[in-house]
């Protein structure tokens, strides 16, 4: 029977005898027999690793949408970036992989310092002074941000731009059922949030995305002004790659930046584990969700790192905690620190620039195709939305036949009618993404295939 238990039969017997027991089953004598499982679990018997590997190989073969097989023009928060060998090697070091939360700083300086470096990098990219040690993903980071805003203002109404990723908006609504937050989605006009018509009473948070999920770079002055007028917190969801060259969340006047950190060294991995980015102003420090690493000294006055301001957290504050988060996504944060360290100041800007160059190169050709129009005339960064004369799913299916994962049908993301796009457009719209991995010849072939697919 294959497993990872070291005990020999003799040792097992000796241990049982030390306890005055005759069998392993007798360890459970105090469990009422009426509820005990008779006959064990109805699961297949254990198999050796090579046998399980063979079963899994059948599953991997059934996943046809790999980036090896289909050239990826899909994004929407999950991006096909280069992950260099050095990042894979360092982030898979078992000292990082098989540790747990750094509760004992004396033997956890590795993780603690890596998180400190990560916090510094995210703080700089956000233009905000405080970044936490990570949350689950972008969507759940936004949930924590709106909870922070409601806590700070005492007001439960959230004005959320319909340009925020539809899944993120959906997750905020799900959790609002518990907290009682009132979610008001503010519609887009020409791909840009129309803040003018919203009611300004009782607002706790104004939430926008930069760029929004259609790829559009919105001028954030309006959102910031609205937040100031309502005395609400301004929460900005950012693409962290674009953030390296764009005006930062802090410069736009945001109180909180949230983001999806997957682009920093984490593979597409069917959506997880990813990395929830969270940064905020000093004013919100005491309401920060999750862990925070701070610098201090040890008894010999050497620099040391430790999790700090712990009194906010669930294991101490219990029902009054700022969040229920315990386990987060530390390994992805460490991975991000490695990836960002490798890209460095110049490399990250170069990746962002190449994404924008590729996207604009593709866009200019695609909108020249008969029956293809831009959803918005507003500026964009690395992705953009197109409306075609055909159903988006038909176009995308045809692109698969040509070897492309050609983007995402917006109706698939929204799951139905949505204030981000008109009913007459939504089923015919796709959002297309270009990363630094896409070559000119891939883009040229994609454009040709796209023209064929909509014809």
């Amino acid at each position: 029977m294959p497993d990872y238990i070291p005990h020999t039969a003799t040792e097992t017997e000796e241990m049982l005898s030390f306890l005055g027991l005759s069998s392993l089953e007798s360890l459970f004598d105090h469990v009422p027999s009426a509820i005990k499982l008779a006959g064990g679990l109805t699961l297949e018997s254990g198999k050796s690793e090579p046998d399980v590997a063979a079963d899994f190989a059948r599953l991997t073969r059934a996943n046809l949408a790999t980036t090896e097989r289909l050239i990826c023009f899909a994004g929407a928060g999950a991006y096909d970036h280069e992950v260099p060998a050095v990042v894979k090697a360092l982030s898979s070091r078992s000292e990082f992989v098989t540790a747990y939360t750094p509760y004992q700083p004396e033997v956890a300086q590795g993780i603690l310092q890596a998180i400190f470096e990560y916090q510094t990098m995210i703080s700089r990219l956000s233009g905000l002074p405080i970044a936490n040690a990570s949350l689950y993903d972008g969507a759940t980071a936004l949930v924590e941000a709106v909870n922070m805003a409601v806590g700070a203002t005492g007001r439960q109404k959230l004005l959320i731009s319909a340009g925020v990723h539809p899944h993120w908006r959906a997750v905020v609504k799900t959790f609002a059922a518990g907290t009682g937050h009132v979610v008001v989605e503010v519609p887009l006009v020409n791909g840009v949030t129309d803040w003018t018509a919203v009611r300004r009473d009782d607002v706790g948070a104004v939430v926008a995305a930069y760029p929004n999920y259609l790829g559009v770079l919105e001028d954030m002055h309006g959102a910031k002004a609205l937040a100031s007028e309502c005395d609400a917190l301004f929460i900005l969801g950012c693409d962290p790659v674009a953030a390296s060259v764009l005006k930062t969340a802090g410069q736009w006047g945001a109180d909180v930046m949230v983001g999806e950190g997957q682009p920093f060294g984490t593979p597409l991995a069917f959506g997880g584990p990813y990395l929830g980015l969270f940064a905020c102003t000093d004013a919100q420090l005491r309401r920060l969700p999750g862990r925070l690493v701070g610098q201090t000294v040890d008894t010999k006055d050497r620099r040391a790192f430790v999790t700090t301001l712990r009194a906010r957290e669930q294991d101490i504050r219990r029902e009054k905690a700022t969040s229920n988060v315990c386990t987060n996504q530390t390994l992805m944060a460490v991975t991000a620190a490695v990836q960002l360290g490798w890209l460095g100041t110049q490399g990250l800007r170069e990746v962002a620039t190449r994404c924008a160059q590729g996207a604009h190169y593709a866009f200019d050709q695609l909108v020249g195709i008969d029956g293809v129009d831009a959803v918005s005339s507003a500026p964009f960064f690395r992705e953009f939305a197109l409306v075609t004369k055909r159903e988006a799913n038909v176009v995308l299916d045809r692109l698969v036949d040509e070897g492309f994962f050609g983007g995402l049908a917006i109706s698939q993301l929204t799951g139905g009618p949505d204030p981000s796009l008109g009913d007459d457009q939504i089923d015919r719209s796709v959002v297309i993404t270009v990363t630094e991995k896409r070559t000119k010849s891939e883009i040229d072939q994609f454009v040709a295939a796209f023209a064929k697919a909509v014809s």
């Binding site: 294959p2 497993d3 990872y4 241990m15 306890l19 105090h30 005990k36 064990g40 699961l43 297949e44 018997s45 690793e49 399980v52 899994f56 949408a65 790999t66 899909a74 360092l90 000292e95 540790a99 509760y103 004992q104 956890a108 300086q109 590795g110 400190f116 470096e117 916090q119 510094t120 700089r124 689950y136 993903d137 969507a139 959906a170 609504k173 959790f175 059922a177 953030a243 060259v245 959506g271 997880g272 990813y274 925070l292 701070g294 610098q295 008894t299 790192f305 386990t327 390994l331 460490v334 360290g341 890209l343 100041t345 990250l348 170069e350 190449r354 160059q357 190169y361 994962f405 883009i443």
Partner: protein, 507 residues
């Protein structure tokens, strides 16, 4: 500029597990140095200022770091040498289940056929992932005795909150307004925090002198306004709630639901199932029970399984086996909605399924048996050094107390934990559960050998002896770790959470 660069890139001279301070990556940076290499794309290199309106472009270059690849590798490798891990040695951190993480499970998940699939890929092109998820859901339901499951929650606490929202949706659909959720005083902190976020008030009930739920206190707290109870079984003291059937009957009688915190599910695999105990909603910590690596604090995965009457409320979209034998996404009729940006921590799910398949039903039962054997052996072995807080057969972990050592020598549980670091073991969980004085919670796990357990016991005996002979040495331990005790008060008082804050604080 160069003058402020700290020494770095000294891999050849850095001692293993050395006590030298490692410079930060920022201190190692040298302006103009770089490591990155990107592919040749031949895309026209139009300047960014011609593509993006100036009002959107940042007005300064954001400084990240400027190091060579060689120095980057040395830096993070040296950091890894300053980090304890399961792969390095025994990690008996109670409640966290730090067992061996099979390398095989990492390897199968890392296959490009899983790893390089976009989460929005059409179902027809990701059948392998959907089948994996449906298979895992089915197996988790069999293991817990439930009817249906969601894999979306990214960690145990996310599972708890999802479970509470399911509880709320169920009661609301039945026209019930209920305001309170009961939790025992021994519960994990995530339970009360999740209850608040679920929109309920916490009612805490005491444990009795056995360390178990006080049934009379529970009954007194029950009423028509109770939405449910959250229980961990075995509980956080490591004891099985023997009156669970009576507890379930009492809660169900007032129309409440039973929520099972699966933090300790590893203790009962194949022996007894939450569904058979009367639970309605169960979360599992796959990173604990099914040995996926904890990653220095995550990622985990916190799937939730429910009985049939709650299945219609589960989050969606859900991977589903269709009538024609293919897999597709469907949303349950009364779904509470999404609780994750995509489908959950998919790679963790793949590892957990690999672990379950290697073990099979019989192997999982052995996991529980040996986890319980090891914990009881350790409890008994340490009887004269650190007695158990409750002298009963424990499950997968034992809560010991050092209150006598504190009384005799003014050496605290924390000091004992710190001394254990010096002995080459990770510390147990201390001061939890809150109801035990000077608590030391050991969870040896099934993958530690009898020899390792004996070495752990002997180390604790040495520490107890030292506490009697030279208490100051224990109180100031550890002495040989990469850093000694750190000034936590200073970290909180003068917060330095980034390099930039550190620079501002340097005179």
């Amino acid at each position: 500029m160069v003058a402020r660069i700290a020494p770095g890139g000294r891999a050849s001279s850095a001692p293993l597990l050395g006590t030298d301070t490692e410079p930060t990556i920022f201190e190692m940076s040298s302006p103009g140095r770089s490591a990155f290499q990107l592919r040749s794309t031949f895309v026209p290199a139009t300047p960014l200022t011609e593509l993006i309106a100036t009002e959107h472009l940042g007005d300064h270059v954001i400084d990240i770091a400027e190091v060579s690849e060689r120095d980057l590798v040395a830096h993070f490798t040296r950091l890894s040498h300053r980090q304890f891990s399961v792969d390095l040695g025994a990690y008996p951190l109670g409640s966290c289940t730090m067992k061996y993480n099979p390398k095989f499970c990492d390897a199968v998940a890392a296959d490009a056929g899983f790893n390089s699939v976009h989460p929005a890929a059409p179902a027809a092109l990701s059948q392998g992932w959907l089948e994996l998820m449906v298979t895992l859901e089915t197996k988790l339901c069999e293991i817990t005795g439930m009817a249906a499951a969601t894999l979306q929650p990214a960690a145990g606490a996310a599972g708890e909150l999802t479970g509470l929202l399911l509880m709320r949706a169920y009661h609301e659909a039945n026209g019930q307004v209920r305001s309170r959720v009961i939790i025992p005083d021994s519960a994990h902190g995530t339970n009360p925090a999740s209850v608040t976020l679920g929109g309920y008030e916490v009612t805490t009930i005491p444990s009795d002198e056995r360390g178990l739920v006080d049934l009379a206190a529970l009954k007194a707290a029950l009423g028509p306004d109770v939405a449910g109870i959250m229980l961990t079984n075995p509980n956080t003291v490591g004891l099985f709630e023997e009156e669970i059937t009576e507890i379930a009957a009492a809660v169900h009688e007032v129309g409440g639901l039973l929520y099972y915190d699966g933090a300790n599910l590893n203790a009962i695999l194949g022996v007894v199932r939450p569904g058979d105990m009367g639970f309605d909603i169960v979360h599992m910590n796959l990173h604990k029970t099914f040995a996926t690596p904890h990653g220095g604090g995550g990622p985990g995965a916190g799937p939730v399984a429910v009985s049939s009457r709650i299945a219609a409320y589960l989050p969606g979209p859900k991977p589903t086996l269709m009538a024609d034998g293919t897999y597709d996404w469907t949303t349950p009729e009364r779904s509470i909605g999404r609780v994750h940006g995509w489908h959950g921590n998919a790679m963790v799910l793949a590892r957990a399924l690999a672990y379950i398949n290697v073990h099979g039903g019989d192997g999982l039962t052995r996991v529980a048996q040996y986890a319980v054997l090891n914990a009881n052996w350790l409890r008994e072995r340490l009887r004269d050094t650190l007695p158990a807080a409750y002298d009963r057969t424990c499950m997968h972990e034992c809560v010991l107390t050092s209150s006598q050592i504190k009384a005799d020598h003014q050496v605290r549980a924390l000091d004992i934990a710190k001394s254990l670091l010096e002995e080459g073991f990770h510390a147990p969980t201390v001061y939890f559960p809150l109801i035990v004085d000077e608590a030391l919670m050991f969870e040896p796990t099934e993958t530690e050998s009898p020899q390792t357990l004996e070495a752990l016991a002997e180390a604790l005996e040495r520490i107890a002896q030292r506490a009697a002979e030279d208490p100051e040495a224990v109180r100031t331990s550890p002495h040989s770790t990469p850093v000694t005790r750190v000034d936590e008060a200073r970290a909180a008082r003068r917060l330095i959470a980034t390099e930039d804050a550190a620079s501002r604080n340097t005179p």
